[in-house]
């Protein structure tokens, strides 16, 4: 998902097969979508991840979508236990993991049953035949064997392979026990798919060595399984299935394949370096935010302290304590954790201290769908505290953009002395894409100044320190503990503006409420950029992770001759200064969101614009195809109100 205005991504399932000059025997396609599906014990996430890495090294553009169950271990072979990993690889710039897979790997009947409906018409299913026996079929809810009867596989190309027994056979002479060999069958599948798409073999072999080094039998079993799958492709006359996806013509530079939580963590580390401040992460594990703790815990050499607290409230409390001490305080969580942290967020904004609250949204309410994505916490981020309590909100749009958004959130927090919500989601967190690494010298330093001298004279002409004296942006003076002479006390009780002394004066409270609102309004954020047919009557307004699907859908619609403009918000509070102007005079303002219309509500309220909502709350991201259809319907006035 290399950011550019629009791509000419081909239509749904369109494999534009062309001859390639370099490898005359293997036809090339411009892109392919592969979905690995199996039992959650089958290692599908690992398999997908390895395929992705090999493709990234090969130079493809790509986007991934891990789709896994919340249960640690649902009963093997059941529909609840199906774990899937979808990846789109291409020879051009793409924005999404694709709509309908061209190829699906089904490691057992449950995987076939749960995911077959996603397959593109005429797509290929690669099936592990060994698992299609009565017990597994029953567990998956089949009262017949779809390999032998029924219409399930009609219209698909089926490659039925006894993966388990072939893997066991390949491992036999190594002395690997059948049970252990069975666990390597995912590498058989990986080997087969790698052969079909001419993926390089070496990176996977090296990875197996690195990952399982020292456990010789496991290394040997996985390598043997991979090779067996690879050889099977050649010997089973699957040559007509073999295609190549050439490297994408990406901008020159150094690339790495990154998921959102990793790049977000790196952005936080970078922000600490740019501000020349130590980072303090106070947090409590929660899906899908936990990987941020895991990643930051590795980076002590950057002056990063990670504190796994006793609960969410302690996590943000400790982060706020560190901020009070002059460090960059950060807390990471997901929706239910934000709810617990809301009182401390209120305190932080009353104290006017820097604090970054990272929220990786998931399906709600309550425990909801912890491993599935949703973006329904916008109103909570915006309004989910008591009293008038505005907090800036920054939302990344792609996995790699999480890096920039994290730096931006820290910049606002530190330079405006305010808690800031960094609002990502599960789809960005776990999805990955190639990222052209920025030149770190180009990143702007974050100027943080702490007050070290008196800033006020009292009526007797004596020097004093007033913690709530403000600059032109209404940012208050901040002296940190340890600074001589500037001792002062702050708290959640209303303070007199300027002196910071406790004040219950009604007019002072009204003034402070207005100042707290105004100082957020005065945060300068870049104008929102309008792309596509800039002056079109129809504007699609998006935020967060819908960027990829919207961009792809618009590429298709504009390719068909529709005039549409697109604007995507990174800053949701305050809104960009030009947003009102951008919305003005459009016939349609359509807002696709993974909620029931939260941004629509905000836009309608703020700009009195008849924004129309395009909602999806299924725990799955939008596909470009469904957005294309819905946008067309809405433009034509056919959408349900």
């Amino acid at each position: 998902m290399i950011q550019k205005t629009f791509s000419n991504e081909a239509g749904n399932g369109g494999n534009n097969v062309t001859e390639t000059a370099t490898e005359p025997t293997v036809p090339a396609v411009d892109r392919v979508i592969i979905r690995f599906a199996g039992d959650s014990g089958d290692g599908m996430q690992l398999t997908g991840d390895r395929f992705t890495s090999a493709s990234a090294m090969h130079g493809n553009d790509l986007a991934t979508f891990p789709d896994y169950p919340a249960e640690i271990r649902a009963p093997a072979g059941t529909l609840a236990g199906v774990s899937a990993f979808q990846v789109q690889i291409s020879d051009h710039d793409i924005m999404t993991p694709g709509d309908a897979p061209d190829v699906m790997v089904a490691m057992n009947p449950a995987a076939l049953k749960s995911d077959l409906h996603r397959l593109a018409p005429g797509g290929t299913v690669i099936i592990n035949r060994d698992t299609f026996e009565e017990r597994n079929l029953t567990k998956a809810g089949y009262d017949y064997n779809p390999l032998e009867e029924g219409d399930d596989l009609k219209g698909c190309r089926v490659i039925s392979v006894p993966m388990t027994s072939l893997t066991k056979e390949a491992c036999k002479e190594l002395g690997v026990k059948p049970r252990d060999a069975d666990r390597s069958k995912n590498f058989f599948a990986l080997g087969l798919v790698s052969w079909m798409y001419s993926r390089p073999v070496e990176p996977t072999m090296d990875w197996i060595d690195a990952k399982f080094g020292g456990r010789d039998l496991i290394v040997a079993a996985n390598k043997a399984a991979f090779s067996a799958g690879h050889i099977y492709g050649e010997t089973a006359e699957l040559g007509d299935q073999r295609v190549i996806v050439k490297a994408a013509p990406l901008e020159s530079g150094t690339y790495t394949n990154v998921n959102g939580n990793t790049s977000l963590s790196w952005g936080l580390v970078a922000a600490g370096q740019l501000a020349n401040l130590p980072i303090f992460l106070g947090t409590y594990p929660i899906t899908p935010a936990t990987d941020i703790l895991h990643e930051l815990a590795k980076h002590k050499s950057f002056g990063v302290t990670t504190f796994q607290a006793e609960d969410e409230i302690a996590g943000i409390g400790a982060a706020l304590g560190a901020s009070f001490g002059g460090h960059l305080g950060i807390t990471s969580t997901s929706g239910p954790g934000v709810a617990l942290k809301s009182e401390t967020m209120g305190l932080a904004l009353s104290l006017e201290l820097p604090l970054v609250i990272v929220s990786i949204q998931r399906g709600g309410p309550s425990t909801g769908l912890p491993t599935k994505t949703e973006a329904a916490d916008l109103l909570m981020a915006m309004y989910g505290r008591h009293g008038e309590s505005p907090i800036p909100i920054v939302a990344p749009r792609t996995p790699s953009d999480c890096f920039n958004a994290a730096i931006e959130a820290c910049r606002i927090a530190l330079t405006h002395r305010t808690p800031v919500m960094l609002l990502s989601d599960g789809y960005l967190a776990n999805g990955s894409e190639p990222w052209r690494l920025p030149d770190v010298d180009d990143l702007e330093p974050i100027e943080v100044t702490y007050t070290t001298e008196f800033n006020h004279k009292n009526a007797d002409g004596e020097d004093e320190y007033w913690p709530y004296l403000r600059d032109e942006k209404l940012v208050r003076s901040m002296a940190i503990p340890g600074t001589p002479d500037l001792m002062h006390r702050i708290g959640g009780i209303e303070k007199e503006d300027g002196s910071g002394n406790i004040s219950y004066d009604p007019t002072n409270h009204a003034k402070m409420v207005e100042i707290r609102a105004e100082r957020i309004r005065r945060i300068e954020v870049p104008d929102v950029e309008v792309v596509g047919d800039v002056d079109a009557d129809v504007l699609i307004l998006g935020w967060g992770s819908t960027w990829g699907a919207i961009t792809s859908a618009l590429g298709r619609l504009r390719g068909e001759g529709h005039k549409i403009a697109h604007a995507h918000l990174t800053h949701l509070n305050p809104f960009p200064a030009n947003l009102g102007e951008v919305l003005k005079g459009r016939t349609h303002v359509l807002i696709p969101e993974m909620n029931l219309g939260q941004l629509s509500l905000m836009i309608r309220a703020e700009f009195l614009v008849d924004a129309q909502s395009i909602s999806k709350v299924s725990g799955q991201p939008f596909t470009a195809g469904e957005l294309e259809t819905t946008i067309l319907e809405t433009m034509n006035g056919e959408a349900k109100q």
Partner: protein, 342 residues
Amino acid sequence: MTATMNNEVVPETKRADWQSDQEVRWCPGCGDYSILTALQLLMPELGVRRENTVFISGIGCAARLPYYMNTYGMHSIHGRAPAIATGLAMARPELDVWVIGGDGDMLSIGGNHLIHALRRNININILLFNNQIYGLTKGQFSPTSETGKVTKSSPVGLIAEPFNPVSLALGAEASFVARTHDMDRKHMQEMFRRAYEHDGASLVEVYQNCNVFNDGAFSTITKKDVRDDMLIDLRHGERIQFGSEGQYGVVSCDGGVEIANVADVGLDALLVHDETRQDPSTAFALSRLAAGPTTPTPVGVFRAAKRAEYGAAMATQVAAVAAESGKGDIASLLRSQPTWEV
């Protein structure tokens, strides 16, 4: 832990230097006044810098105290002061961080943070003002209120049994636990000093009189004329003996401890108090001598044992990583996964 790093000379201060310009607003006669005075008198003796001293509190009457100390301070939210102080103490180990809270604040809404701050042995000094009542919300029972107590929220008597804060702290592996009371400023000052000198988390329970909502809760043991017979003064290395004539003592019994007449058991049978004992069992047994302040009650330092302090352990870990991998470099971090050139 002392703020006088590297033997630097700290300018002398007086009590007045530790008094902020804010008007003290507690009910007349509140026990909090004498605790505040004890702290303001102690600070000059400790020879610390005001700017390196931070008071953090939650919500409640006690939690107003930071406003009255001329140091850095934060009046935060109900129950959360130990968590906030933990972050500050970890980020800035050179600061002296004090946590102020009441029995409702720290044992009820903030119970979780209290036990974990003690368990981790973060270098903070926690002063728990226990008046066995909710004062700021005007008279509901608290986690330390005695069973049967009639309050606005328990009009026919409290059903639950109370927490014993010292037992709780010892159960949470606290390395320093002491108890004192607001009628004896010298003793308070001594306990606060010991807490300050302790490396790691320290908890001092202060029996504090709420003369409006729970007046006289501790008078059975703290009034001048009964003190000698009702307060068991724990002194390290000495026999645990009390009473106006020294007629009572504490002896081991059945795996625990009990009060005995010295005349019956003889002086040599009395338990010698060892606050440094690693095994907290004896300290815990001592904390069980009194279920509440109506029978002879131990005061003083129950436990002052050496345990690894969290912040120091963290600093050691960070230094070890830094020594091994060198200072972090963002450009290298971004290239820490497989990369390729286009």
